[in-house]
Amino acid sequence: MNNFETIQKKALYEWQSLQENPEPVIYIGMGSCGIASGADKVWKQVQETISKEKINAKVLKVGCIGPCYLEPLLDIQKPGFPRFSFNNVDEQKTIRLLTEFLNGEESKLKPLGHLDPQQKEIDGIRSFWDQPMLKNQERIVLRNCGIIDPENINHYIARDGFKGLLKALNLGPEGIIDEIKKSGLRGRGGAGFPTGLKWQFCREAKGKPKYLICNADEGDPGAFMNRSLMEGDPFALLEGMVIAAHAIGANTGYIYIRAEYPLAIERLKIAITQMIDLGFLGKNILDTGFSFEIRLKEGAGAFVCGEETALIASIEGQRGMPRSRPPFPATSGLYGNPTNINNVETLATIPKILREGGNWYAGFGTKTSKGTKTFALVGKIRRAGLIEVPMGTTLRKIIFDTGGGPIKPFKAVQTGGPSGGCLSEKFLDLPVDFESLTQAGSIMGSGGLIVMDEHTCMVDVAKYFLKFTSQESCGKCVPCRIGTTRILEILEKITQGKGEIKDLEILENLGDTVKNSSLCGLGQTAPNPVLTTIKYFKDEYLEHIENKRCPAAVCRDLVEYRVIKKKCTGCQRCVNVCPTGAITGPRSEPHNLDLSKCIKCRACYEICRFDAIAGDAIVIE
């Protein structure tokens, strides 16, 4: 292992030198999300300004640290100082930061926080990690995201990378499995099956070669934990895969990743090459005689392919249809051979567990759900983003302390994506773990948490998810194919104001049938959004059915647009944006809205609310 020490020394030296760089270092958060918020423009501006001002600075791309609402984020490290973070940076702010702040001039631009893990306050600047959104987090799997350059293996190594692998190789397969069992780790892909046990089944299964598959399909339409992790720290996933492969006895691994994630794919490819170069992957890993190669397979866009047997069919080049289990993939998976499938987050957690020990990891979380979990906290919420908290944290703490709550009154939180449910206010003190969410009628799922406020219609949300699952049903079993379509039709009827009271009972019966008689997890959970909304938000269904009214003013057929004459300033802004000429009126006088011409496009409403001279006079009721 001398070789490893040499590699480590070199990496530590590089990382240390970067912290002590005699010139400034600039770090830009360049995850897909950062880029969507304009980080690429910031990147260009930084390049332009440093060349124009002849600033001798190093510029690095890092992944995403998680608080999406602060993006684009840019850190500046002045010689002799730690990194200082600046939020919501645009081109103008970039120029000012690189001139005013770098030169130490008196400036209104205050950093959000510093990133020195050891210190509390530096020059009156608090730690970045003290902010409300980060304070309650426990970052185990996300620990490198936004901190290291994800395209530089030395950064990863300098922050304890591959120490877990080293330990694993010494422990041997049984030892690794024991350690994972001790940690209590359960799969993060949704079902929560104990990971150690799953590995043991595959290890003990007869047949060769064995395969390891990483499920990076992330099909929940509203979740991005796995994407962010792979973009910010691809090495953690890959190290976890090498350890898993050694434990089960596989020499070939696949990462089944969504084609919609081009940046993650690129970063994984770079990371794989760098690992092979240093001997952490490929033939004869760290001179132990163990060989393992990883292939990337791009998923072509089908939610059901996240289901493990469908995923295997898809890797084999077929339509991604689930098949019945048993046999489980552990005994008969890819090409009929023993196969172990794990989620991205599950695998990326492994290195740290090996390094710190299973007992250490089991120190986080609840009795049945150990460790931490990442969540994509989005929807009607002030501080949206990617977070990691110990299992057992209450929904209230996550939504209100970390996320800052919604601006309008809270109505519901949706967990588990299309397979999950909507929970009402009375569940806010529920500790988030596998069992308690299931008991409440929802599921943990992969980690989507969508917050909804009084402007969200719960019938519409149920309709949205059923539209998704009915389209994504592979069609193999009748209850799922026909059942989800029937449920969708009824929900459409209700949102059009044509619902009848007996529909609620039909929905519940149909829901139970689909749940109990479908082959795979898609069908078995698809009715959850309907069943939970009927259970916890029945009054909203009743309003739609009995009073033909949508209390949240979302369902198109049940709302009207109106001008409140008293408020209307007669600014004529709405007249200009209305595509049908439905609004008329002379300047400076209250306008008329002709309902027979209105197509309910919402343009006038937006303009009237956000334009300075308009009077916020248009309402949807």
Partner: protein
């Protein structure tokens, strides 16, 4: 048959062994990467290469939302209809697109300017609702903003 398409398909196919249908999805991805869509001609060539029927190929290709059977427009619009975008009003944006462009998802405008498709989450839900046009993600969209942006494309 379109000679250009035929040539690129053949050179793509040569990278994959014949008769091994486990590579079908990768082949479809590679062909679409080059041609931007799966033409009937390309499917014919793949069918010969792998010795499987056209209907088998269509069966697989239509199962996955990634594959397109229409030539794309000069600009590609991808409207996000993921959960976060939905609760923030994504449907209104879709209505603007379908009514302004007079097409539905999966189609290309008659003048070849825009093609339109829906996607389930572009991974930047915190900026919802979002619309991606070519390689630019337009975030925190509104009906009015989207119309203005559409006007800016040639």
């Amino acid at each position: 048959m379109d000679v250009k398409i035929a040539n690129t398909t053949q050179s793509t196919l040569n990278k994959f062994p014949q008769k091994d249908k486990s590579n079908l999805i990768q082949i479809l991805q590679a062909v679409q990467e080059k041609d931007d869509f799966l033409s009937p001609e390309a499917i014919g060539s793949i069918s010969k290469h792998l010795r499987v029927s056209r209907s088998y190929i269509f069966g697989v290709a239509t199962f996955y939302s990634q594959f397109k059977f229409n030539p794309p427009g000069r600009h590609s619009i991808r409207i996000c209809l993921g959960t976060a975008c939905h609760v923030q009003g994504g449907d209104f944006l879709l209505n603007v697109l379908t009514s302004e462009l007079d097409i539905t998802t999966g189609e290309t405008t008659e003048d070849g300017k825009f093609d339109l498709d829906r996607v389930a989450c572009l991974g930047c839900c915190a900026l919802a609702p979002v619309v991606k046009i070519d390689n630019t993600i337009h975030s925190r969209m509104s009906v009015v903003k989207l119309k203005e942006i559409l006007d800016g494309y040639e």
